[in-house]
Amino acid sequence: MRSCRLRMEAAMNSFEYKQAKDIPEALSLARADGTTTFVAGGTNLLDLWKYNITNPSQLIDINHLTELSEIRLLEDGVLMIGAGVRNAETAYHPIVEQNYPLLSRAILAGASPQIRNMATNGGNLLQRTRCYYFYDHEVPCNKRIPGSGCPAMSGYNRMHAILGTSEHCIAVFPSDMCVALAALDAVVNVTGPEGNRSIAFADFHRLPGDTPHLDNNLKEGELITAIKVPEKGFATNYAYLKLRDRHSYAFALVSVATGLALDGNRILEARIALGGVAHKPWRSLSAEAFLKGREANAENFAGAADLILKEAKGFGHNDFKIKLAKKAIIRNGLMALKPESQLPGAQPSA
C-alpha cells in the first residue's frame, strides 16, 4: 500500500489517497461510513469533484488491482471482463470483436479515443447522468440534494428520459457500453464487506422512483470486480445505432442495441435495449417475445417498438424522443440484418 495525505497547509478540501495492491486491501482500506470513493480512470469522478458535485475524503486507487484487469473466456463459454480493463482495450479485444461485436461497437460509439483509453468498465457502469442541472451545484436537483426539486422537468429537457421517470427525476443514464451489456444479459460481479454477489444487469441500475439520488444497487463499500457476458453474443446479426446532436463526442439522445438470432429471416430470439431514454438501459421482454417467431422486417420491428414505448412520456423538449426511438428501433433492426453495413460512430446505415 502506498499512502499519502494530500494537504495544502490544510487549505484545500483535504483528502486521503491510498493505492490498493489487491482486492482484500482495497476492501479493508475502505471506511465503513460511506466516505470512501474508489477511483479508476477518473474520467467522471474528477469532473464531478471539480464541479463541486462530490467531495470524497478518502480516495482508494484501484488502478493497480491485477485481479480486475483481465479479459478471459471461462470454461462454460462465458466471457469475463475485468472491471479495471479500459474501455478501449475491451472494445478492441479479439474475443470481444469476434464474439461480441455489439459490445465492441457500443463502446466505440462512446466518448472519445482519449477518454476510452482511460475509462474502465467498472467506472462506465457507475458514471453519473449528464443532466445539465445535476452538474451545476448552484441550482436545485433531487439527485444531488434529495427534496430540492427537479428543474429539468419544466426546464430544458432535450436529453432527458421518456421511460421509467418519476416525479422526482427524469435523468437518463448516459452509457453506451451498458446498453449493449443489457441486451446481452450480462451479470455484474461485485465484492464487498458482506462478501461476493452477482447482480443481473437488469437489476443493477435503478429507476429514480422516490430515491433519485441512487443510480444503482451497489452497496456502500462494494467493489465491482467483473462483468460476465453469456456465450450467446448475437455476433451474426447485431447493430448499435446512436443518435445525437453531432456525429461523435456527444451523448446519445436515443441509442439502440439490437441482437437477433435468425432462422432464415424468421426471428428465433431478439434482444433490444435502448439508451438515452431512461435512468437505466431499457429493455422490454414483452417486445422481445412479440418478435419471437416473426419475420425480421420493418413492420414487426415497429410492432416491437410500440410495445417498448407504450408507456413513454415526454416533457416538452424531449417529446421527439418517442417518435425517434420508434424509428431508431426499426432502423436498427434492419441494420442488424446487414451488420457489415454499419458505419463508424454508430451512425445510421443500411
Binding site: M8, M12, Y132, Y133, G155, L243, D245, R246, H247, A328
Partner: protein, 745 residues
C-alpha cells in the same frame, strides 16, 4: 518591388513551430516574483442585491491574502466617461464590484486573492453571500413587446442604425406578384476561444504596470486601464504577444483585466487572474435574434420590395446593436425598402461582436428568403441571384471599388457541379439518404482603420517593424512580414515584425477583418518613406553613385540598393547603416483610409457558398458532405493563411447552423450548458470535403495594397447555403438555428 514577390505565396505561419511545441507564451503563462492569484466569485443569482457577505472562513484559509468585494474595493474614478473603451456601445458600462446590485447571472461579485490558484478557488467555496432576489427576464421571445430602438452613441459610427424606408414598402409588398414572408430565430452563442481570458499584471513599482492580457486590442486596454485607474498612459503597458483565438470576445476589455489590475494596485503586488470555462460564458456573446423578412418580386424574379425587421437582445445597461437589417439592400436593388432594428433589454450581460456580427445573422435570413422566393418563382436559386445582380451598391447608390461576386457564383457553381441539381425538393437520394444542394451569397465589410508603423533598418541590415496590433491566430505576423519583405526586397528571414504591445505605434483593436488593410497599408507607407531615407543616406556617402538619385530610380533587392538603369551599381543596407555610425535608419508613418476618395464608393467583400447535405430519410440525421466557397476579397497576401481563415469560417457556418447554442433556462435566468462538453461545436466527423476558391479581384481604389480582409467573409454565406440544402433534400424549411435533426423527420 522585388522580382520574386513574397506576397501571394502560401508561406506557413512563422510562429507555427512555437505554437505547436508549446513555446508560445500566453497571458496566463508569464511568471513573476511572488505572483498572487485571483479567482473570481460569480453570482449564482440573476438579479437582485447582495445583502451580506461573510468572508471569515475565507480569510482563515492559510494562503489567502485578500478578498475584494464591493464593500472594500479601492476607490476609483467610476464616472462613466472615463470608464469606457473604444468598442463600448451606448449606455453605462458594467462596473465589476461597483455596488451591491446584481445585474446578470455569473456577474463577478468578489475576487479572492491567494498565493496560488487552487487556494483562491477553494476560497470561493467558503465565502458566504446573502442575496435579495428580484424577478428577471432573460428570454428574448417572451419579451417582444418591450422592443425599442437603440440609443445612439460613440459606437453608432461603426454600427449605424438601419437607413430610413424608401418607396412605399407596405403598398408594394401588398400588391406584389410574388411575395415571401418568413421568420427566423437564432440562439445565443458564446465565442469560446480555447485560451481562457487571463491577465498577469506585473507591479513594476515607480507607478508602472506591465500587463499581459488576452485581448484583441493592446492600446484599447492600455487606455482603459489608464483612464479608469487614473494612471499616466506611458506608465501602463499592455502586451499580448500570442492570443489563443478571440473571435470578437477580446474587442472589449473583459472583467478579469479590471479585477487583476485593481488587485495589483491595491496590494502593490504581481497578480494573475484567469477565468474558468464556465466564466467564459459570463460576459459577451452573440445576441439571440428574431428576424421577420418580407421580400417581393415581379413575375420575372426582379425584386420590388425588401423588408427586414430585427428583434435582438441587449443588456439592461448598454445598447449593443449589430448591423443586421439592411444587408439585403447592399446586394439587391429594390425600389421599396423597410428596415428596422429593435432591441430588447434583458437581464443578461451586454452582447458583443462575434465573428461576422450582424452579417452572419442577417445573411442566413436573407438568403433563405431568397431561396424561398426562387421556389415560388420556379427559378433556379442561382439564376435568381444573377437576375438581381447589382454591380453597384443599391443601398448607397454608389459603385463598389470592386465586386467580383458574379465570378464567385460561377466559379463555385462550376466546381460544385450545381448543374447536376434537380430542382424538386426531395428529388435526389443516395440509398436511404436524401441529398440536397443549396447555395447562398455572402457579403461583408472591407474596413480599414488608421494605423502607425515604425520601420527601421538595423545594423545587421535587417528590417524591423513595430505596430501595436495583435495576431489573434489569423496569420498577421506572417502576412505583415511578407508585405514588408517585398517592399524592401528582403527575404522573410530578414524582416522582424514586432507587435502585440501597446508601447508600439498605434493600431486599432484587431477586428472587422481590418488588420491586413490597416497595418498592411501603414507598412507600405512606412516602407516608402524608409526607402527614400535610405536612398538619401546612400547619396550622402563619399563618391556615392546614389547622389541626387530619387527613390523611384532605385531597386531594393537582396539587402541591396541597385540603380535601376545600371543594376551593377549597388550598395548594401548594412553599408548604409555603417555609414550612419551603426545607428538604425528609421521612420514612423501613418496609413489611413482615403476617406475623401472612397466617399464615392462602397466597399465590400463577397462570397458564394454551395453546399451538399445528406439527410437520413427516416431519422433526419444531417451531414454536410461537401461545400465550396468562393471568396472575392481583393488581393490575397497569403493563400495558405487566408484559406485557413475561410475553412475555419466555413466550419463555423456548419457549427452555427447545426450545433452551436447556449441554452438559457428561463426560470433560473442562466445558461445551463456552460461547458465545452454540452456547448456543441463540430468534431471531425461532422466535417465533409471543404473547398475554398479565391476569385480574382483586382482593386486599385480601395487602398495601397488592394486588400479587403478575409476574417469573416467565409462564414456569412454558409448557414443559408446549408439550410437551403436541407430544404432541397427534405422540403422542410427550418428557420430556427441550430437545426436539430429531430425537426427533419
Amino acid at each position: 518591388m522585388g522580382i520574386d514577390k513574397i506576397v501571394g505565396k502560401p508561406i506557413s505561419r512563422l510562429e507555427g513551430r512555437e505554437k505547436v511545441t508549446g513555446m508560445a507564451k500566453y497571458a496566463a503563462e508569464y511568471q513573476a516574483d511572488n505572483l498572487l492569484h485571483g479567482y473570481v466569485v460569480s453570482s449564482p443569482i440573476t438579479k437582485g442585491r447582495i445583502i451580506d457577505i461573510d468572508i471569515t472562513k475565507v480569510i482563515d484559509i492559510p494562503g489567502v491574502v485578500e478578498v475584494i468585494s464591493h464593500k472594500n474595493r479601492p476607490k476609483l474614478a467610476w464616472f462613466d466617461l472615463q470608464y469606457t473603451d473604444m468598442d463600448a456601445p451606448p449606455g453605462t458600462v458594467f462596473k465589476p464590484l461597483y455596488d451591491e446590485n446584481i445585474l446578470y447571472n455569473g456577474q463577478p461579485i468578489a475576487l479572492i486573492i491567494a498565493k496560488d490558484f487552487e487556494t483562491a478557488r477553494y476560497g470561493s467555496t467558503q465565502i458566504i453571500f446573502k442575496f435579495e432576489e428580484q424577478d428577471f427576464q432573460t428570454v428574448l421571445k417572451d419579451n417582444l413587446t418591450r422592443a425599442r430602438p437603440a440609443k445612439k452613441g460613440f459606437a453608432t459610427a461603426l454600427k449605424p442604425p438601419p437607413p430610413p424606408p424608401t418607396g412605399d414598402f407596405e403598398n408594394a409588398f401588398e400588391n406584389a406578384a410574388i411575395k415571401v414572408e418568413s421568420e427566423f430565430q437564432h440562439g445565443t452563442e458564446h465565442h469560446n476561444p480555447i485560451e481562457l481570458f487571463a491577465t498577469t499584471t506585473i507591479f513594476e513599482g515607480n507607478g508602472k504596470l506591465t500587463i499581459y492580457d488576452k485581448t484583441q486590442g493592446t492600446i484599447n486596454n492600455q487606455l482603459f486601464v489608464a483612464n479608469l485607474f487614473g494612471l499616466r498612459y506611458k506608465d501602463v503597458r499592455v502586451l499580448a504577444p500570442f492570443v489563443g483565438g478571440a473571435f470578437g470576445s477580446g474587442l472589449r476589455p473583459q472583467y478579469q483585466l479590471f479585477l487583476c489590475v485593481m488587485a495589483a494596485l491595491h496590494l502593490k503586488r504581481n497578480v494573475r487572474v484567469v477565468l474558468d470555462r464556465k466564466q467564459m460564458f459570463s460576459f459577451s456573446h452573440r445576441p439571440p435574434a428574431i428576424q421577420k423578412l418580407r421580400f417581393a418580386s415581379d413575375i420575372n424574379g426582379r425584386i420590388t420590395a425588401l423588408g427586414h425587421e430585427v428583434f435582438a437582445e441587449t443588456s439592461n445597461f448598454e445598447d449593443y446593436t449589430e448591423p443586421t437589417a439592411s444587408w439585403s439592400h447592399r446586394l439587391y436593388a429594390a425600389p421599396n425598402t423597410l428596415f428596422e432594428h429593435h432591441l430588447i433589454p434583458l437581464d443578461v450581460y451586454t452582447p458583443m461582436d462575434m465573428r461576422a456580427p450582424g452579417g452572419s445573422t442577417a445573411l442566413h435570413a436573407i438568403e433563405c428568403t431568397m431561396d424561398e422566393l426562387s421556389y415560388k418563382l420556379k427559378i433556379d436559386p442561382l439564376d435568381l441571384r444573377l437576375i438581381n445582380y447589382s454591380d453597384m451598391d443599391p443601398s448607397a447608390e454608389k459603385p463598389y471599388t470592386s465586386k467580383a461576386l458574379r465570378a464567385c457564383y460561377l466559379e463555385a457553381a462550376e466546381k460544385f457541379g450545381w448543374d447536376k441539381r434537380s430542382p424538386e425538393p426531395g428529388s435526389m437520394a443516395r440509398g436511404n439518404k436524401l441529398v440536397g444542394y443549396g447555395m447562398a451569397t455572402g457579403i461583408w465589410d472591407a474596413f480599414q482603420f488608421p494605423a502607425r508603423v515604425e520601420a527601421m533598418i538595423s545594423a545587421d541590415g535587417k528590417l524591423i517593424l513595430n505596430n501595436a496590433t495583435t495576431d489573434i491566430g489569423t496569420g498577421t505576423l506572417t502576412i505583415m512580414t511578407q508585405i514588408a519583405a517585398d517592399e524592401l526586397g528582403l527575404n522573410i528571414a530578414d524582416v522582424d515584425f514586432r507587435y502585440g504591445d501597446s508601447k508600439k505605434p498605434f493600431s486599432m483593436f484587431q477586428g472587422g477583418s481590418a488588420t491586413t488593410s490597416s497595418t498592411g497599408v501603414a507598412i507600405v507607407i512606412a516602407a516608402r518613406a524608409l526607402r527614400k531615407k535610405l536612398v538619401r543616406k546612400a547619396g550622402e556617402m563619399k563618391d556615392s553613385p546614389f547622389k541626387n538619385v530619387a527613390a523611384e530610380q532605385v531597386v531594393f533587392k537582396g539587402g541591396n540598393l541597385l540603380l535601376k538603369e545600371d543594376m551593377k551599381t549597388f550598395i548594401s543596407l548594412k553599408e548604409i547603416i555603417a555609414f550612419n555610425a551603426g545607428r538604425p535608419i528609421k521612420t514612423t508613418n501613418m496609413g489611413k483610409p482615403h476617406v475623401l476618395k472612397l466617399r464615392k464608393y462602397s466597399l465590400a467583400t463577397h462570397s458564394a457558398s454551395f453546399v451538399e447535405v445528406e439527410v437520413d430519410k427516416d431519422l433526419g440525421v444531417v451531414t454536410v458532405t461537401r461545400a465550396v466557397t468562393a471568396v472575392a476579397a481583393g488581393k490575397i497576401i497569403n493563400p495558405k493563411t487566408a484559406r485557413s481563415q475561410i475553412l475555419g469560417s466555413m466550419i463555423w457556418g456548419i457549427s452555427k447552423t447545426l450545433h452551436e447554442e447556449t441554452i438559457m433556462d428561463a426560470r433560473l435566468g442562466k445558461y445551463i450548458n456552460a461547458n465545452l462538453g454540452e456547448y456543441h461545436i463540430p468534431v471531425h466527423a461532422d466535417i465533409g470535403e471543404l473547398e475554398v476558391i479565391f476569385t480574382e479581384e483586382k482593386d486599385d481604389l480601395i487602398n495601397e495594397i488592394g486588400t479587403k480582409g478575409v476574417g469573416e467573409i467565409g462564414l456569412v454565406a454558409m448557414p443559408a447555403a446549408i439550410s437551403n440544402a436541407i430544404y432541397h433534400a427534405t422540403g422542410k424549411r427550418i428557420n430556427k438555428l441550430p437545426i436539430h435533426f429531430d425537426e427533419l423527420f
